[in-house]
């Protein structure tokens, strides 16, 4: 009997969270860690002990979702909403188009992504795979069983849609 998704999600989420926390204690502030490395490590562990349970594409989908949850929760815990709401328009746009990863935008991104998800769940999966666990275009296309060219176009659409949402509404919705 294969585990149902709820069990699998709980376990993957728990493992990622635990590993992320362990890494964050070990590294010095200023250094960053690619989620890809974490996801890979969790996959290797699970594949070793429970090979029957670990279909790679299924795993990646759940890991990406978990990583989104973990990063967004952490950003919320650091008071990201306040920082985000406090930014003026210029800083906001700069931080959106800038190369640096800014976790202040994560809660707002997460909310926008949930709205996009309602419109088109596939769009959210693409963002999770590409942005939250850093898969390449080819890897993400593979995980979603579509051609890299299609994935690239849909990724562009999701990015444009989210960018518009975030630059339109700097204040996070009241929760």
């Amino acid at each position: 009997m294969a585990p149902n998704d709820a069990v699998f999600e709980t376990v993957v989420y728990g493992e990622l969270r635990r590993l992320a926390a362990a890494y964050m204690r070990r590294e010095r502030p200023g250094q960053t860690l690619q989620p890809t490395a974490l996801v890979h490590e969790v996959y290797m562990r699970l594949a070793k002990t429970e090979p029957a349970w670990t279909d790679r594409n299924h795993f990646l989908g759940i890991a990406a979702r978990s990583m989104r949850q973990i990063l967004v929760d952490r950003a919320r815990a650091r008071g990201a909403q306040k920082r985000w709401a406090g930014m003026d328009r210029v800083t906001l746009t700069e931080s959106l188009v800038g190369a640096g990863h800014d976790d202040a935008m994560l809660p707002a991104l997460d909310e926008a992504l949930s709205r996009l998800e309602q419109l088109d769940p596939e769009q959210a999966r693409i963002i999770e795979l590409r942005y939250f666990i850093g898969l390449s275009v080819e890897e993400a296309a593979d995980a979603l069983t579509m051609s890299p060219a299609t994935l690239k176009r849909r990724w562009a659409l999701a990015r444009a849609w989210l960018f518009r949402e975030l630059s339109r509404d700097p204040a996070p919705s009241q929760s």
């Binding site: 585990p3 149902n4 998704d5 709820a6 069990v7 699998f8 999600e9 709980t10 376990v11 989420y13 728990g14 493992e15 992320a20 926390a21 204690r25 590294e27 502030p29 200023g30 250094q31 960053t32 860690l33 690619q34 989620p35 890809t36 002990t49 349970w53 979702r65 978990s66 949850q69 990063l71 929760d73 952490r74 815990a77 650091r78 959106l96 188009v97 800038g98 190369a99 640096g100 990863h101 976790d103 997460d110 909310e111 949930s114 419109l119 088109d120 590409r130 942005y131 850093g134 176009r153 849909r154 562009a156 659409l157 990015r159 444009a160 849609w161 960018f163 518009r164 630059s167 929760s175």
Partner: protein, 490 residues
């Protein structure tokens, strides 16, 4: 926007991506026709596509320097509380020992992490804390108050000095049988009080059971399980199932792993796992990864506890094995039933005062054996002949019976759980021997007959007394002491 409209927007957007600027606009005009909103939407998205720069192109990163709730220093005053020291870190945040100026008592002050602090979550926390505060039982850590102090949330609860069962287990060594039985009873009793009030714990594990230094057991964090970080997603804004399961995988019931909220039956399962681990020192579903543990909880049965500890009283072993059933309906419906099942076992342990009468009975009967032997010896001196044979019969039988009764008294003192089987084993022998003595004395009495009326009557009285003591008095003292109706009932 509907799903169909979205697909249309997506298709137009994707095709425009591949075209050069001047052609594109004309093409879009043709495609969209007079559908102005469609045209506007596609153009808007295209425009933002161009402006987006490297937005999201670099993957998110996990940054070190984990956030940390600011800690409170000893001596610091928070509302009515003065911090004394930090006691540790729990799932929800730091825990402090503090003194409450209003009542002059010590409290455990739990700081709730700031991410749990939005209004919906506060309401939820308030409800849970109120439910937990309604529980007053000596086996449950009392929640005093949920405090909102300068925007920070704190849970003030009873301060207990002691060690958790997890810490006890870490110190090694198996608990004695007496300790195992008492621990199971205490936890089940406290849990039963909560279940009777309609509150499930949801996260029973050795870390949540504290043994105070005075020996009393206390269950901690009642009803707060679902507030642990693993379950924050559930309270979030989005309909995501991630982490919707509170609790700790190794102690969660199969149905809980499948996403059902914890209830009394899930607690019963947690109780089983917890007691199994405490008594045996090994987790019943042990595996090297959480996924492996979850798999075993769902799919494989634990090794029967008696296979690991064969000396465990049968009742307790059966209770624990039943708690670990996969199907919730096969388990005890609540901890109250566990208490009842375990209390059947208390009949085995003599009820203190009545057992004293049982002991007295044994001693008196042993005294009567001595009197009977002396009487038979005196009669042999008087009569000789067949009286010698009767004296030998009484003497040997009395010695045998006295040895068995002494053995039972000894067993009752040092090995109570073993008493019942011993009693059942020896009952036919003592019965036969007692009746033999009574019969021999009866013959002695008849033999004396009219030649020595007084000793004859005394001897006959002793004979009848011994027979009555064995046939009528002893069954009733035994039944009173051990809760049995007949020595053959099992």
């Amino acid at each position: 926007m509907t799903a169909t409209e979205w697909v249309r927007v997506r298709d137009l957007f994707e095709r425009l991506l591949d075209q050069s600027e001047p052609d594109a606009l004309a093409w879009l005009d043709r495609e969209a026709g007079d559908n102005i909103p469609l045209r506007t939407e596609v153009l808007s998205l295209l425009e933002h596509h161009k402006k987006a720069g490297v937005f999201l192109s670099e993957p998110a990163t996990v940054e070190p320097a984990p956030y940390d709730d600011p800690s409170l220093e000893p001596g610091q005053v928070v509302g009515p509380y003065t911090i004394i020291r930090e006691a540790g870190r729990g799932g929800m945040g730091r825990v402090y020992v503090a003194s409450d100026a209003r009542l002059g008592r010590m409290v455990a002050l739990k700081a709730v992490r700031s991410q749990l602090a939005d209004s919906a979550q506060r309401d939820r926390l308030r409800r849970e804390a109120r439910a937990a505060a309604a529980l007053t039982h000596p086996g449950i850590c009392t929640v005093y108050a949920l405090e909102d102090l300068d925007g920070d949330l704190f849970i003030a609860s009873e301060f207990i000095e002691g060690r958790t069962l997890r810490q006890e287990m870490a110190d090694g060594g198996h608990p004695s049988l007496l300790n195992a039985v008492n621990t199971a009873r205490d936890i089940a009793a406290a849990l039963a009080a909560a279940h009777a009030a309609g509150i499930a714990h949801g996260d029973l594990k050795p870390d949540n059971i504290m043994r105070a230094y005075d020996g009393r057991l206390k269950i901690l964090d009642f009803g707060l399980a679902r507030l642990e970080p693993a379950s924050q997603a559930l309270q979030g804004l989005h309909d995501t199932r991630l982490g919707a399961i509170g609790g700790t995988p190794g102690y969660m019931a199969p149905e809980q792993l499948n996403g059902r909220p914890p209830d009394a039956r899930a607690d019963v399962f947690g109780f089983g796992v917890l007691m199994y681990e405490y008594i045996c020192g090994t987790h019943p579903f042990n595996a090297s990864t959480p996924l492996g543990i979850a798999a075993r909880v769902l799919e494989s049965d634990a090794q029967p506890i008696t296979a690991v500890r064969s000396d465990l009283p049968q009742t307790l072993a059966e209770v624990i094995d039943r708690c670990l059933r996969k199907s919730a309906s096969e388990r005890f419906a609540s901890a109250g039933e566990i208490v009842r099942a375990l209390s059947l076992d208390t009949h085995e342990a003599p009820r203190a005062r009545v057992a004293t009468w049982w002991r007295a009975h044994q001693l008196i009967v042993m005294g009567l054996y001595l009197v009977a032997s002396i009487a038979a010896w005196q009669i042999k001196e008087l009569r000789g002949g067949s009286a010698t044979a009767l004296f030998l019969t009484v003497g040997i039988a009395a010695t045998v019976a006295a040895v068995f009764r002494g053995h039972l008294l000894f067993t009752e003192r040092v090995n109570r759980p073993g008493l019942t089987p011993e009693r059942r084993r020896t009952a036919p022998i003592t019965l036969a021997v007692d009746l033999l003595i009574a019969a021999a004395l009866g013959l002695d009495g008849v033999m004396l007959g009219l030649s020595a009326p007084l000793p004859a009557v005394l001897t006959l009285a002793l004979s009848v007394g011994l027979a009555l003591a064995r046939l009528i008095v002893e069954p009733s003292t035994t039944a009173a002491a051990f809760g049995e109706t007949s020595p053959n009932a099992s």
